[in-house]
Symmetry: C2
Subunit: 312 residues, 2 copies
């Protein structure tokens, strides 16, 4: 086993922050003549990033490309922007991520799992840095499995935790394990909770979100191609998770929290629960109900953005 190093658990993370600009934590970047954001099909030489993206104040990200396109269209309408031609994928030259800009809101998909969102975040943070964006808030709007919650509940993440219920994100760097804190911005979480309360019929809670590397065995599901544990062992694990304060399970929050924290970005995770994992593993709700559930984090975040922009 390689040595484990602690990195950025202490408050030294703030050293790079000044005037709320978006900072990268990489001294090599400044000496590069060109920066190709490969998975976005953008580059500092071929695109005027400050002109294209300099006014971004909100980045909303979720797994599905279709969902993030729908969110961009929704925000276009909500912000009263001209939407005659619909929204256009800025990174249409690649199918890795889908990216839409509506006024100060960037809507971008991140695929599924920690590695997929981490590639997106590296390039997004560099993009925001190159574009000289200021006071940016990042929000992941996603889906999750609930732990003892009514399906359709919206969970705002207090702290992301790993499969051992620890507020840590482990990253292997040159054969050494680096551990980073996964705490999210408390005041932003409270502000979002308040938005949830202001929307009628939206059940919103704050809790810990467990992030796993696998949807089946990794989340204690009994219905994958592989499963070597009993129903009782599964339930015992979920009970332990609940005791540790875990309210829902998804697959991206730890690296999202860790990277945003290291780069001094205010960030939040808002996920709807599609089922109660104590009651089952398969997602059996109707397509229509699932669609309606997935709109809930979008409504909440749209309400937050409009409040911040003083449009309410």
């Amino acid at each position: 086993m390689a040595p484990i190093l602690l990195d950025n658990i202490t408050p030294e993370r703030s050293e790079y922050i000044e005037h709320e600009e978006v900072h990268v934590k990489n001294p090599h970047l400044h000496s590069m003549e060109e920066d190709i954001l490969y998975h976005f099909n953008l580059s500092t030489k071929t695109h005027n990033l400050p002109e294209m993206f300099g006014d971004i104040k909100f980045v909303c990200t979720g797994g599905s490309a279709n969902r993030m396109k729908a969110f961009a269209e929704f925000m276009q309408k909500e912000l009263g922007l001209d939407g005659e031609n619909g929204v256009e994928d800025i990174c249409a030259g690649t199918d890795r991520y889908s990216t839409y800009k509506t006024g100060p809101v960037l809507s971008i998909s991140h695929g599924m799992g920690v590695p997929s969102i981490s590639i997106m975040l590296h390039e997004l943070i560099k993009l925001l840095h190159h574009a000289r964006c200021r006071d940016v808030v990042l929000i992941r709007i996603g889906t999750s499995g609930g732990i003892g919650l009514e399906p359709g509940t919206v969970v705002i993440t207090d702290t992301a935790v790993d499969s051992f219920f620890q507020p840590h994100f482990e990253q292997v760097v040159l054969g050494k394990v680096i551990v980073r804190s996964t705490e999210l911005d408390k005041s932003l979480a409270q502000e979002l909770l308040q938005c949830g309360r202001e929307i009628l019929n939206l059940c919103t809670v704050i809790g810990k979100t467990m992030c796993t590397y696998d949807f089946y065995e990794g989340q204690g599901r009994l219905d994958g191609a592989l499963c070597s544990f009993s129903t009782e062992e599964k339930l015992e694990y979920l009970r332990r998770a609940k005791e540790a304060g875990v309210t829902n399970i998804e697959m991206e929050s730890t690296v999202f929290a860790a990277m945003c924290r290291v780069c001094g970005l205010k960030a939040a995770v808002v996920c709807v629960t599609l089922l109660d994992r104590f009651k089952g593993d398969q997602i059996t709700a109707s397509h229509e109900l699932l669609q309606e559930y997935q709109l809930r984090p979008q409504y909440l975040v749209s309400h937050f953005i409009k409040k911040r922009l003083q449009l309410l």
Copy 2:
């Protein structure tokens, strides 16, 4: 740290194999009335899976949805199948993966990273099982960074290794770390190497493939949003990788090898290198050259399939 268990490193993996059917390793599945393959938008109740998929002999998978569509179109032509209406995404009701079937060949995207491909593999293996497929070969056709290889080299993976150069895949199951072997089928790799040799101008090698959870820090890149090491430390890590037999780096091979092995599926990984990591981190080749590189694993695998089907 949780206890580490060894699982399936020993030859007991073959216990489920008989008549080369595709087997799941999950006793719970047999008692389920319905199996919803959520990320494929398919179910055993709503779809006749044996009729739709029972004749599949080859599953080819790669990260990009566009690339897997192009591969399906290419195979349709190569196999002389009726292609008047092009190919159609079988799982069009969801945007998580794109899936095309042309004769005995299933072409399916897996997104980026271990968690994304692992969800796909759980549902794919269950699909092949429910459809009662026999003698199926799985091949990942992807892109990678080369270690001291000319860009455009096609690497056939001998064994997938983790960031510590170990032939292991670690999976957290109910708070315990399970370790699985990542060895791939040696005779299939040799058969593919022979196919590479039969195609003129295709430089093909066999080697170890390192699988990481991150594209930037995790692969020793100096150009991410975060980087805390020097150029010399990066090169030292790559030199150690090369000494351990690593020829290329990508982000899916360990879980792909481990899951296929546990389920008794013959599997191979065929990736082209887009750059030599000793010479740089950014992918600077022209769009046209990169497109041409990405066709190379497709040509090789098409040649293999045609040979197997005795069409050559």
